[in-house]
């Protein structure tokens, strides 16, 4: 979708907020949001497109206003509500309860089986290539053009490369197609690393020699024409 999350090339966000010696988490709630998000991912068998789509689906004003882990928190709430696992009214009531009782901590309940399953998930390997025998249509060195399209669902093609010309640099094997709502395209496709000269992407704005690289699925690109 053409959302505010697709911010490559936008102006106005100011200097990069660099923090020296940054800790992994800045607060206990960030730890818990991160932990419960991965645990939920395991439990609900969530897919990448679902998780990313839920973050992108936050209202744009919210997306820009809240911190990274608060986006995780809000998107998980929405996914849990959609799955019928958490009733938003119950969550609001529980929130008021903890506001009124700031020293109270969430109840603890351990489950060795679930902990072990989580450990296995953390130790597992998840090859991105599907191994499907699909012959790539493009070869390294081919000139290509990115298709111009505006899907309403999750897509891995940022606006700044649509319609731009590039060169295939590398073939990364066959992967699941991760875009949502793109119509009739193969569910597994070759992925290519495509190089775009900086001047093709940004014209006069370039600040020196350079190029942008992006990995694109086969249905995202076409012959230069």
């Amino acid at each position: 979708m053409n959302g505010v999350h697709d911010m490559g090339g936008m102006h106005g966000f100011g200097p990069v907020p660099i923090e020296r010696d940054e800790p992994v988490f800045h607060a206990e709630w960030e730890r818990r949001v991160f932990g419960l998000s991965l645990a939920l991912g395991q439990k609900m068998r969530s897919t990448g497109p679902q998780l990313r789509g839920a973050i992108e689906a936050l209202p744009p004003e919210t997306y820009l206003a809240v911190s990274y882990y608060e986006k995780w928190l809000r998107s998980k709430e929405n996914l849990l509500a959609q799955a019928g696992l958490i009733d938003p009214a119950e969550l609001d009531a529980r929130t008021r309860h903890f506001m009124a009782n700031p020293d109270e901590q969430p109840v603890r309940r351990d489950d060795p089986g679930q902990r072990r399953a989580m450990r296995e998930r953390l130790d597992g390997r998840y090859p991105a290539e599907t191994g499907a025998a699909i012959e790539p249509a493009f070869s390294v060195g081919d000139g290509v053009k990115v298709s111009v399209f505006n899907p309403s669902g999750h897509t891995r093609v940022p606006r700044y490369v649509r319609g731009k010309a590039g060169t295939v640099q590398r073939f990364y094997g066959v992967h699941d197609f991760e875009d949502v709502g793109c119509g009739d395209v193969p569910p597994q496709q070759p992925i290519y690393s495509v190089r775009f000269e900086a001047v093709e992407l940004w014209g006069d704005a370039v600040d020196g020699r350079g190029a942008g690289y992006l990995d694109l699925w086969e249905s995202h690109i076409e012959p230069p024409g």
């Binding site: 911010m7 923090e19 992994v24 709630w29 932990g35 990274y68 958490i86 700031p102 597992g124």
Partner: protein, 202 residues
């Protein structure tokens, strides 16, 4: 920031407690499964993994060749792989080419070798600007990339994650892998810094 920021933090903290308590009470999640995740990414997985990969590549040309051809298998030789690292590509800095990594759409990052991304990597400023004005962004990190050096910006998608192989600093001839790994910073493996020549070395 200021009051608004504190207020947002307070709200998120309370909301998180509420969500966790409901998930645990309903038997959807166990507290110790959550603890396990947090401990893993706070203590076991982080940029020290990537630093060992870089140090080995600096000292073992055959490993370096494998790393640049098939990063996933090469780091697996050292036991690194897993969530958010299904496929890894490594881009080498040279005298003529400097590489920098971003995820403009969100926060894709090679977790098995670098751990979780720093806040600035996920910031709107970095994501929006590093593709269009990489030199200006890198200068904010204190890194100057000359105009005639080719600057490659890798916008990561979900499937392939990127790490930069920085240049080995001068004056480290004969150093061990462990000594070299100590020099390698997270920022140098994202491409917003170089590995500095150690102090006391000419």
């Amino acid at each position: 920031m200021g009051d608004d920021h504190e207020h947002a933090q307070e709200w998120a903290a309370v909301r998180t407690k509420a969500l966790e308590s409901l998930l645990v009470e309903k038997g959807i999640l166990s507290s110790d499964a959550i603890d396990e995740v947090v401990r893993t990414y706070e203590q076991d997985i982080g940029p020290m993994n990537g630093a060992r990969v870089v140090a080995r590549a600096w000292t073992d040309p055959a490993f370096k060749a494998r790393l640049l051809t098939d990063g996933t298998s090469a780091v697996e030789e050292m036991g690194y792989g897993g969530l958010e690292g299904g496929q890894l590509a490594v881009s080498e800095n040279t005298d003529d080419v400097h590489n920098v990594v971003v995820c403009t759409l969100c926060s894709c990052y090679p977790w098995p070798v670098l751990g979780l991304p720093p806040t600035w990597y996920k910031s709107s400023a970095y994501r929006s600007r590093v593709v269009i004005e990489p030199r200006a962004v890198l200068s904010e990190f204190g890194l100057t990339v000359e105009e005639d050096t080719e600057l490659r910006v890798w916008d990561s998608n979900s499937q392939v994650r990127y790490m930069v192989l920085p240049q080995r600093p001068e004056g480290t001839e004969g150093w061990t892998v462990d000594q070299l790994a100590e020099l390698v910073t997270r920022d140098s493996m994202i491409g917003v810094a170089k590995v500095a020549t150690p102090s006391g070395v000419a």
